[in-house]
């Protein structure tokens, strides 16, 4: 029953797995640092409200981390089960990068997570703070290695091909490949914004329900300020990333802009229905010369179009729409966070209009939408290549029949659907239950750590 192309199925399966996976690192990368911030604020002020915030969000972190770990393990097996051609061709570059992720980051997170979650009463306060720092550092380091590999696949350098296999010649160039700094910054900021809106949304929900405790007000305010500060930075970095992409992958930008031919005075298309059969746009609404102005900083700038890359450019519609969804969510984030920050700055958290709080609730998972859309643009934008100019996606797929891939895909989708629903429900449940404890309750039996923790141990039967 090889009715459906196994390549298509393997690609859908990989897309499903990575889409599910990326949701959780997107949260844990920045949430680790947020937790460290809460913990340091508590250490400095000994204010129970910060500890309550830590207690609630560490639960969200633990759940997100578990989801990320289990779906990440699935990813590491996918290379072998579905894409054996990938490691056979570029394993000499991809291998060490993945190995360094496991060696430097994965163990660090996994071991210290246990101490961070359950070690409160067993280790001195400073060790617990240190464990939080190491977990946050570990998740970020993990993101670093993965983005290095992904960027290298987009803009490969520092290699030579001997006997049809890629060999590394310059590791420095491979790690600091041309698109890595832009991609890494863009992703870290995406994570920070996702977490800002997650914290803002869940805190706003709690605040709407019953006003919440002091901890809820603190996290709501901190999250709104963080979002308001970071979103302009993200827009700037996104623009720089776009210019970098134009330099190294012009066909990707052409598809994002639905620009079918190379010309000057290219309009900025706001809305259109790209037609890849006729190689034109229907119902186009555009700003004249807008794209030339943005991409070349001149109205008469010549922007490369898709006709230069016939048969060798990515599909247009997903990139065109994916890019607009990402930018649209970004603009919405800018408007909402600035408005909310303005109100909070002037009248405090309780001066927040209820309708605006509901908008924040609605945008709890807005970061996920933007991140996924952005990843589709960047990953589909590399097609038909798996590693730009080195390995085509079609040449990496394994010999597994479509029946097998279809069954495993169905199984994955069913499991992921249940888990995602359970995850979101539990998050809202945590928002409702969390912070219920009185704010004043201090975290450790005695301030100052070691001694207090030792006493706590003695008290246990």
């Amino acid at each position: 029953m090889d009715a459906i192309d196994p390549l298509i199925l393997a690609r859908i399966q990989f897309a499903a797995n990575i889409s599910f996976h990326i949701l959780f690192p997107t949260i844990t990368i920045a949430l680790g640092w947020a937790l460290l911030g809460f913990k340091l604020a508590y250490n400095r002020t000994k204010d129970g409200a910060w500890m309550n915030a830590y207690r609630l969000w560490v639960k969200v972190f633990a759940l997100s981390f578990a989801m990320g770990v289990v779906s990440g393990i699935t990813m590491s097996f996918q290379f072998g089960t579905n894409w054996p051609g990938y490691m056979e061709k570029v394993g000499n570059v991809a291998g060490p990068l993945l190995a360094y992720e496991v060696l430097t980051a994965f163990f660090l997170e996994a071991v210290f997570l246990g101490i961070m979650l359950f070690g409160f009463s067993r280790v001195p306060n400073w060790v617990h703070t240190m464990a939080t720092l190491l977990v946050a550092g570990g998740t970020t380091l993990s993101a670093f290695w993965i983005i290095v590999l992904n960027s290298w696949m987009q803009t490969p350098v520092g290699y030579e091909i001997r006997d049809g296999v890629v060999h590394a010649t310059d590791w420095w160039a491979i790690v600091f490949n041309p698109s890595m700094p832009y991609r890494l910054t863009h992703m870290l900021l995406a994570s920070a914004l996702t977490v800002s809106f997650l914290i803002a949304g869940m805190s706003a929900w709690r605040w709407l329900k019953d006003g919440g405790g002091e901890g809820v007000r603190r996290t709501l305010k901190a999250a709104i300020y963080a979002a308001a500060l970071l979103i302009p930075v993200q827009i700037f970095i996104g623009d720089q990333h776009g210019l970098n992409t134009l330099e190294h992958q012009p066909q990707k930008v052409a598809a994002m802009e639905a620009n079918w031919e190379t010309r000057s005075h290219v309009p900025l298309v706001l809305f259109a229905i790209p037609d890849s059969e006729a190689r034109t746009n229907h119902m186009e609404i555009a700003i004249p010369s807008g794209a030339s102005l943005i991409l070349k900083h001149s109205r008469s700038g010549v922007v490369p179009g898709l006709d230069d890359y016939r048969g060798n450019h990515p599909p247009v519609a997903p990139l065109f729409w994916g890019f607009r969804i990402m930018v649209g969510i970004g603009v919405l984030m800018l408007a909402v966070s600035w408005l909310a920050a303005f109100r909070i700055a002037r009248r405090g958290v309780d001066g927040l209009p209820r309708w605006l709080a509901w908008v924040l609730v609605a945008m709890t998972f807005a970061g996920w939408g933007a991140t996924l859309a952005g990843w589709y643009v960047t990953e589909i934008g590399r097609q038909p290549w798996l590693v730009s100019g080195v390995l085509k996606t079609a040449d990496a797929v394994g010999p597994v029949g479509s029946t097998m891939v279809a069954s495993s895909l169905t199984l994955y989708l069913a499991v992921y659907a249940v888990l995602l629903a359970a995850y979101i429900l539990v998050l809202y449940r945590l928002a409702r239950m969390g912070n219920a404890a009185p704010d004043a309750k201090p975290m450790f039996p005695m301030p100052g750590g070691g001694e207090g923790a030792a006493k706590a141990l003695e008290m246990k039967p």
């Binding site: 578990a66 289990v70 072998g80 054996p84 430097t104 071991v111 246990g114 495993s408």
Partner: protein
């Protein structure tokens, strides 16, 4: 960069590192999965305590699997593709099992009480599915991915065998980590599963040399048989010693409660050495050896430098975590 070791040595070192990771995984996550499979035997507080006994460790334990498979992936890319495409179905099912087990830890503690039983079932089912699939894969790997009816039957037997082994080491973990009546029951579970484990190891030890003339000769030629004799003798001694130890009443103050766990780990290691010796230098029985499958020496050198610095650190902080959470398990909380 230029490799600082000749390619053949690099392949041997990486085969060793990979083997060590997989052995550590089987022992460490083995007790997690065993405890997971034992949870239906208890209810409420006792079950929570069993889960709590592995709570701080399972994540780090599971990471040894990621490292083992990661080293296979990066050091022996060709073998990685071959093995995983052959084992497609059990790998997918194992991943589903690992997913269910891993998230059930978190969900069972955070959902409303009336939903908890679903996540308890997912915890048990995920642990069982993972153990069965790993056993099946072990069987298929030993037989060189033979697809005959007899081979599949052998794989199913190996699946049950590994379940028995994990149940045994899980029970030994509980003897070490809990006290009172639950500990007494763990001793009984260990008594039963010890014999099932012995049976499974015996069957696999007999079947492996029968399937390959090369392995038969490696074990039963002279002088190898004399040099190798200590392995089965040590295993048999451990089994008998454990059986006697588990029959006797537990010592006061919980002295020596770590002995069964340490002995179980040693048993797993002996079994592993046996399989590794049978296979060396092949990664896939009689078809692909470690030198044919190895990645380029430049890349292996790059990883080795990192591994030599980082692995001792990882071992160090893993031991630190076990030390911080030493002693009897208590009900876990984030407080």
């Amino acid at each position: 960069m230029t490799p600082f070791l000749a390619a053949p040595y690099l392949a041997i070192i990486f085969a060793g590192l990979m083997g060590l990771s997989i052995l550590l995984y089987v022992i460490l996550d083995g007790y997690d999965l065993g405890v997971g499979m034992l949870t239906p035997l208890e209810k409420d507080k006792e079950r929570d305590l069993m889960v709590a006994s592995i709570g701080p460790f399972w994540d780090a334990n599971e990471t040894w699997l990621v490292l083992g498979i990661g080293l296979l992936l990066v050091a022996f890319p060709v073998a990685h593709g071959l093995i995983l495409t052959q084992l497609y179905l059990p790998v997918v099912l194992m991943l589903v099992g690992l997913i269910l087990r891993g998230v059930a830890f978190e969900f069972r503690a955070k959902v409303p009480a009336y939903h908890k039983h679903w996540w308890d079932k997912a915890f048990f089912g995920g642990s069982l599915l993972t153990a069965l699939c790993q056993g099946y894969m072990l069987g298929a790997y030993v037989l060189g991915f033979d697809q005959s009816v007899a081979a599949v039957a052998f794989c199913l037997l190996a699946a049950l065998g590994l379940v028995a082994g994990y149940l045994f080491i899980g029970a030994c973990w509980l003897i070490y980590k809990v006290e009172g009546e639950l500990q007494q029951r763990a001793v009984r579970w260990a008594q039963v599963t010890l014999w099932l484990t012995a049976l499974a190891m015996a069957v696999i030890s007999v079947a492996t040399p029968l399937m390959s003339e090369r392995i038969f000769e490696r074990w039963f030629g002279l002088p190898e048989i004399i040099a190798l004799l200590p392995i089965p003798i040590a295993a048999a001694t451990l089994f008998i010693g454990l059986a006697i130890f588990l029959r006797r009443p537990l010592r006061p103050n919980d002295e020596l409660s770590w002995v069964p766990l340490a002995a179980a780990g040693l048993l797993f290691a002996l079994g592993f050495v046996g399989i590794a010796y049978s296979f060396y230098p092949y990664l896939i029985a009689d078809r692909l050896d470690i030198w044919q499958a190895a990645a380029s020496p430049e890349s292996l050198s790059i990883i080795l430098i990192g591994a030599l610095f980082v692995l001792p650190v990882i071992l160090g902080y893993s031991i630190l975590a076990h030390w911080i959470f030493r002693g009897k398990a208590t009900h876990l909380s984030y407080e």
